[in-house]
């Protein structure tokens, strides 16, 4: 009985493609600027070929069949590239769903026995639904990869070590200082201390919204590691509400030099390096007076 469907579909490949293209172009969800008509046609043709050519007695019952390996790969490739290009899930989903419509239409046209058509379309629907699910899974995986990559990038971007003066490094920490983050921060900081031969490191936590005991513990770890390298560490950017919270939590930061602002930390650093910042009042005034 299924020989019939397979034969029907094989002999109507051209028509399937035409119908499918029509369906895809008719649905208003297609975004023309993301893909040209020719590209879409090429993709669709490849897919129809991969599906119809590999359809046989066994594979029609099993979407996981090795006969469909080529199709699975094609679909995976298409949905991952669509996820990256910024297609919406609806666009990607209706891509494969509109193929189902085209296939069912052909079946209806070629066979007038309602019962048989029903059985056949049930079979085909099940197969194509599985492919749709596969498309979605891959689409979401593509998106997740994108998110993971961005997370890594954010971690990288948000831990810059700045040399503010000869021998003084500043490290503005933004966001939450979890364990993974601490590792990155510490690595960057220690490496930079060796590279620049700095004696003072300022950790600025103005951009850390919440200091709980885990964050505090990680900060203390960074401070101890810096000390082991022979450098002094100052923690700056402690806001009043954070100070009160730290006291209530019972975190002991008394062994660490802490300052309210980055400016006062810098001032402290200058002092301990016996540097002085002065206004060159006379000269400046002289220049403007002329």
């Amino acid at each position: 009985m299924f020989e019939n469907i397979i034969k029907t579909l094989k002999s109507n490949k051209g028509e399937i493609l035409e119908l499918w293209m029509k369906n895809q172009l008719a649905s208003s969800v297609i975004t023309e600027d993301l893909m040209t008509n020719q590209e879409l046609r090429k993709q669709s043709e490849e897919l129809v070929n991969a599906l119809v050519n590999n359809l046989n007695e066994n594979s029609i019952n099993d979407s996981q069949s090795p006969d469909f390996d080529q199709l699975t790969e094609l679909l995976g490739g298409i949905s991952i590239s669509r996820a990256r290009q910024g297609f919406s899930p609806r666009e990607t989903g209706s891509f494969i769903l509109s193929l189902k419509e085209a296939l069912l239409e052909i079946l209806k046209k070629e066979n007038s026995n309602v019962n048989e058509v029903f059985e056949e379309s049930l079979k085909l629907s099940r197969l194509l639904d599985n492919f749709t699910i596969l498309t979605f899974e891959t689409f979401i995986k593509g998106r997740e990869e994108l998110i993971m990559r961005q997370t890594d990038e954010i971690t990288d971007i948000s831990t810059p070590v700045i040399k503010v003066w000869d021998g003084i490094l500043a490290l503005p920490i933004i966001g939450t200082l979890d364990s993974a983050r601490t590792q990155v921060v510490m690595e960057n900081l220690l490496q930079e201390i060796v590279k620049t031969g700095s004696g003072i490191a300022i950790l600025d936590i103005s951009g850390v919204p919440t200091v709980d005991s885990l964050v505090a513990q990680n900060l203390l770890k960074a401070v101890s590691a810096t000390r082991l390298m022979g450098a002094d560490c100052i923690i700056s950017g402690i806001r009043p509400e954070i100070a009160q919270t730290i006291v209530h939590l019972g975190i002991d930061l008394s062994q660490v030099i802490t300052k309210a602002t980055l400016a006062s930390a810098l001032q402290y650093a200058f002092k301990s390096l016996r540097l002085e910042v002065r206004k060159t009042a006379l000269e400046a005034a002289g220049v403007t007076n002329q």
Partner: protein, 144 residues
């Protein structure tokens, strides 16, 4: 509860959130912050509440692989506050008085989570059955 506080606590708004991975901590804290802002809690109390909630949720992740959190706006008489409940199905705490001591930790942390949290909030309640799980409830009043 102390006998002097006989007035009933009435829950008003309620939201739940499952926390199962480290990435859930920040959205959870933002949710708590939103509730605190809704009752116009001051910045210092807000920070205390968020830190306490963060502390508890981290414990839950570390020792019980996560669990359920319930955030509520509650009122008692003229006071309004935020109540956060943490329910997990972890190993439980065998000796609660010991766990409430400063500096005691079975993990390698500072051991300030439980006692520190108790100091940060107005009301703190802990129930734990070893092998079954732990439920902790904290309340911070808007001007408490």
């Amino acid at each position: 509860m102390e006998p002097s506080k006989k007035m009933e606590i009435i829950p008003l708004t309620r939201g739940t959130m499952m926390v199962f991975k480290d990435q859930d901590v920040v959205p959870f804290r933002n949710e708590v912050k939103e509730y605190a802002e809704r009752i116009k809690m001051g910045l210092v109390n807000q920070t205390k509440l968020i830190t306490a909630a963060s502390e508890m949720v981290r414990n839950m992740l570390k020792y019980a692989n996560g669990g359920l959190t319930i955030i509520e706006i509650v009122s008692r008489g003229p006071q309004s506050g935020v109540r956060v409940t943490f329910k997990d199905e972890g190993p439980g705490i065998a000796d609660i008085p010991q766990a409430m001591q400063d500096g005691f930790s079975t993990g390698k942390s500072l051991g300030l989570g439980l006692p520190g949290t108790k100091r940060l909030v107005n009301e703190f309640d802990i129930k734990s059955i070893p092998g079954t799980g732990t439920t902790i409830t904290i309340i911070k009043w808007a001007n408490g």
